[in-house]
């Protein structure tokens, strides 16, 4: 037996090979190769997660530019700064970009980066699928923006209601670009969701039983299940839409027995859970950050986890509240009013638990905590207006007005983006090894908080004064001009806040003060390794004995040993109690996910122009998949 073939375990390695041997060997096994091809073929969840986060924030910035263009247009009545055609593209792409290219992907991105570290494993499950997912997402986003630059941007709203998006009223390829952009995002989201579910359920560190899982991981798990259950509806919808447009089916054509409301049901059956897909990860991140800043464990762990699950379930029972003005049967209206209102109960429970946590703890006012406070002010207000739009009769006045624009920006920016930015400040030291600036961070919070509220609060009043959404111009005699000008001016502060955030992030990534392993003295496992973590995450797999392992095992964290160091191996544990079950190999780096994503992208873009793309482009897709799964001749029982 040559030394290379020896069954190398991490248990007694240092005794035979000397100090540092474990890290050296793990590094060699898990590292990403240097150079261009190495970068394309990596399957390290941290590198993919980092790319995902940076890309999502790049799309956030682009979407923000569109928002500023819209505010410029609406600053005065009957403005001719943007044409109707351009404005309609801009608001459509702003919405589609923020929902499909920023909000959902950034939640997945945080999950891809954080979940394996939080549960104490060496890589995410099915990491090649993660690489594939990232490339598909990137190509889909590029397609949308290239289409926009070429004046083929979708102009039918991010919800693309038929018949306006159907073959008769949306000529050209704009609506097809929208439909396929959806397909891109769905494929990538489904891929990540599967990875998260398996990682959380089967790869947790030994001892991390269900009641010791950090709340952010619970939230990511529920999000992943929601993606798996909700996305198929919109994939069906967008595929059927493109069939109506491309091959002449009549699913949505009432003249041929189709139904236009069918589209709305399919879209919102996805679209409403989507809101919670965006919101829940932020809830989770908030719940996991909060203990670090009040110096005590979270209050009401069980209630919080149950609330997250309850929201995950209820989210599927209230899609119709986007359709309250379509003329529904009375019984249906009452049911969906009640179910929409009911979601306030788990949401309220969460708020009360967080406030109790702060009440019982001793707050430390650092930037992530300030973001949490901004979240409370803004999100609770958005929740209140949410109760208002959940009422069918009231919604008939509020629906499709600026009141709703204000409402959902309060819940999405206040509820999801503020905690997300707090999370960036919080985990930035783990990701880069450097701290972001506390001084600039306070300015960022202040500008965003004030800028946001002054920009969006007046929109409630505009909506009540009769201003509908999605209008590129309004007549001066309606008296909306003054408030719109005020809103546009305040949006500059909001934009400045985001700009400052980007400046701080870019500057700190290079020049920030070194962070150390655990700068916040936090309690969860990701802080048990170096910042940034090595390619193998943990030299030895931690063993969890409580819900706050780093606080309860301050002297030394117990670890498990027995994994091979010259082959990528993970520890698989049971779902309930996280008892070790088996050692499992984890895939090597591979360029094939990149080629597969490229082939898939060619197929989807081509299918905008010809249905035959699905036939001919399936050949390269098949070839790349064969390459991806080609057996390497490693014996099964090697693992």
């Amino acid at each position: 037996m040559t030394p290379a073939e020896r069954d190398l375990r991490d248990a007694a390695l240092e005794a035979t090979e000397g100090a540092g041997a474990l890290e050296r060997r793990l590094e060699r096994t898990w590292r990403t190769r240097e150079g261009f091809w190495g970068a394309l073929s990596t399957v390290d969840h941290k590198i993919i997660g980092r790319r995902y986060i940076v890309t999502a924030f790049a799309f956030l910035a682009l979407g923000g530019v569109l928002a500023m263009l819209m505010r410029l247009q609406l600053a005065r009545p009957e403005s001719r700064f943007l044409s109707a055609d351009l404005y309609n593209q801009i608001f459509t792409i702003h919405g589609a970009n923020m929902m499909f290219l920023f909000a959902v992907p950034v939640a997945e991105a945080m999950a891809v980066y954080l979940v394996p570290l939080l549960v104490g494993t060496r890589n995410i499950a099915f990491p090649r699928l993660g690489a594939f997912s990232y490339w598909v997402y990137l190509f889909g986003g590029i397609m949308l923006w290239v289409a926009f630059i070429l004046q083929t941007g979708p102009d039918v709203g991010w919800f693309a209601y038929v018949p306006l998006s159907g073959p008769q009223y949306a000529s050209g390829k704009r609506a097809d670009v929208w439909a396929q952009m959806i397909t891109f995002t769905e494929i990538s989201a489904l891929a990540v969701a599967v990875e998260i579910v398996v990682t959380v359920l089967k790869q947790r560190a030994p001892g991390m039983s269900l009641d010791r899982i950090p709340i952010v991981v619970w939230a990511m798990l529920v999000m992943a299940f929601m993606i798996i259950l909700a996305m198929p509806a919109v994939v069906t919808g967008s595929s059927v839409l493109i069939m109506d447009r491309l091959v002449g089916t009549h699913f949505f054509n009432p003249a041929e027995g189709g139904d236009v409301l069918l589209w709305q049901h399919l879209f919102w059956f996805f679209g409403h859970p989507e809101v919670y897909i965006i919101f829940l990860p932020s809830v989770g991140m908030l719940s996991t950050m909060l203990p670090s800043f009040v110096r005590r464990p979270i209050f009401g762990y069980l209630a919080l986890v149950m609330s997250i699950m309850a929201i995950g379930v209820l989210a599927f029972g209230l899609w119709v509240h986007h359709m309250f003005t379509t003329g529904l049967p009375r019984l249906g209206e009452s049911f969906f009013t009640a179910s929409s209102m009911a979601i306030a109960v788990p949401a309220g429970t969460q708020i009360f638990c967080w406030i109790a946590t702060i009440w019982l703890g001793r707050p430390v006012f650092r930037v992530p905590f300030l973001f949490i406070l901004a979240f409370f002010f803004t999100f609770v207000l958005g929740g209140m207006t949410g109760v208002m739009v959940a009422s069918v009769p009231l919604d008939t006045q509020l629906h499709d007005t600026y009141f709703v624009v204000a409402h959902f920006h309060y819940v999405l920016v206040g509820g999801a983006v503020f905690p997300l930015l707090g999370a960036i400040y919080y985990w930035f030291p783990k990701i880069t090894g450097r701290m972001m600036s506390e001084r600039i961070g306070r300015w960022v919070v202040g500008l965003l908080f004030l800028g946001f509220n002054f920009t969006f609060f007046p929109m409630h009043i505009l909506g009540l004064q009769g201003m509908p959404r999605r209008i590129y111009a309004y007549p001066p005699e309606l008296g909306w001009g003054g408030m719109n000008l005020f809103v546009s001016l305040c949006s500059i502060a909001l934009a400045a806040g985001f700009l400052l955030f980007f400046v701080d992030a870019v500057r700190s990534a290079r020049k920030g003060p070194p962070a150390g392993d655990n700068p916040w003295d936090a309690s969860t496992l990701e802080w048990a390794t170096t910042s940034p973590p090595p390619p193998y995450n943990f030299a030895r797999i931690p063993v969890v004995t409580s819900a706050a392992p780093l606080w309860d095992e301050r002297a030394a964290l117990p670890v498990a040993s027995g994994l091979s160091v010259n082959r990528r191996e993970l520890l698989i544990t049971t779902m309930g109690t996280a008892t070790p079950e088996v050692r499992e190999t984890s895939p090597q780096n591979s360029i094939w996910p990149f080629w597969a994503a490229l082939a898939t992208s060619v197929m989807l873009v081509w299918s905008i122009f010809s249905p035959w793309a699905l036939v001919w482009a399936s050949i390269p897709v098949a070839i790349t998949l064969i390459g991806w799964f080609w057996p390497r001749g490693t014996p099964e029982d090697d693992a």
């Binding site: 055609d85 018949p163 306006l164 009223y169 236009v260 209050f299 003329g327 009440w359 609770v380 008296g479």
Partner: protein
């Protein structure tokens, strides 16, 4: 004193009236009144809840707990917090249940269908409204566009449909919105309680000129309404001056007649708004321009600059023809 009132208060009143003619906060019909009450019930309740939550949060941030407390006391505080959180959740359930019931009863209060109601059919087009007044007697049925007249105090039943894409009919001063969906029929019922002119606007994104799809609602006394209806039922006024006669010839001879109807002339197209009494309407082009001779000429001369993308093409006319046809149209009261 009265001069002072006139100078200071009147402009304010005018301003309020002005900003209020497309506002949910200024209800002028039973349905909007009901919703207005519901709105304030929700707003005040939610406002109080929000304020209480913020106060408790502020309290949590400002209190200074003892640095080190015995284990036993900490356990007590924890249990007390548990009870408070439980109570707060229970209170949430009660508030939510109360608001759900309130909105249920509001719906019941609004949608009572009245057998005596005036029935008007509204059809949304990209980007204008067709208005059809139904009547058991065919002599009293007529079609107009972009302006809806309603008698004060009489229940009205609006039957909503769409000709092309989804639109949504919303006149906030009178009632909540209701979508107009191809292949479906929706109904909106209410009773106007105050005379006045209100503005309705399409609330569902319907394409390029969604922003410019407005409709005027005129609520007037039953007598005024009766007079208006008698005018509308009649065929178009005969041209008087030589210019108006020439104008009618242009309308009938050029492309205008392919899309527009003017009852009593050869123009009988159905793709565009009925123009039989267009001169009597307050606006043209679905709320874009006032009905003056100049605006009419500008609109006919170049509809694509005024409302880009709308379905009315530019029909080449000589200066004299343009003069004549706009003079004729504004006379069609």
């Amino acid at each position: 004193m009265s001069a002072f009132l006139l100078r200071c208060v009147l402009p304010l009143l005018l301003l309020a009236g002005c900003s209020g003619w497309q506002s949910a906060l200024d209800p002028r019909a039973d349905a909007a009144q009901e919703l207005h009450g519901l709105f304030w019930l929700f707003t005040i309740t939610c406002g109080i809840v929000w304020a209480v939550v913020m106060l408790v949060l502020a309290g949590a941030l400002l209190r200074r707990p003892a640095a080190a407390r015995p284990e036993e006391e900490r356990g007590r505080a924890e249990r007390r917090s548990g009870r408070v959180v439980g109570g707060a959740v229970a209170a949430t359930v009660l508030v939510i249940a109360g608001l759900t019931l309130a909105s249920f009863f509001a719906t019941r209060g609004i949608s009572a269908d009245h057998p005596e109601a005036l029935v008007v059919r509204l059809r949304g087009f990209q980007w204008w409204w067709e208005v059809t007044y139904d009547d058991p007697s065919p002599n009293w049925v007529f079609i107009t566009a972009n302006e809806l007249h309603l008698p004060l105090g009489r229940p009205v039943r609006l039957e909503l449909a769409a000709a092309d894409v989804i639109h949504s009919f919303w006149v906030p001063n009178l009632a909540g919105k209701q979508d107009m969906i191809p292949g479906r029929d929706n109904v909106l019922a209410f009773t106007p309680t105050q005379a006045g002119t209100y503005r309705a606007q399409c609330a569902e994104f319907c394409g390029l000129q969604h922003a410019h799809m407005a409709l005027q609602v005129v609520v007037e006394t039953p007598e005024e309404f009766g007079r208006w209806r008698a005018t509308q039922v009649a065929a178009a006024a005969a041209p008087e001056s030589a210019e108006e006669v020439a104008g009618r010839a242009v309308l009938e001879g050029k492309a205008c007649a392919a899309c527009h109807t003017v009852r009593g002339t050869a123009a009988a197209g159905t793709l565009g708004p009925d123009l039989t009494h267009v001169g009597g309407r307050r606006n043209i082009a679905a709320g874009m321009l006032p009905t003056t001779r100049g605006a009419m000429a500008a609109w006919i001369a170049d509809p694509q600059t005024i409302k880009p993308g709308n379905n009315m093409p530019m029909v080449p006319l000589s200066a004299d023809e343009l003069q004549a046809v706009s003079a004729y149209l504004v006379r069609l009261r």
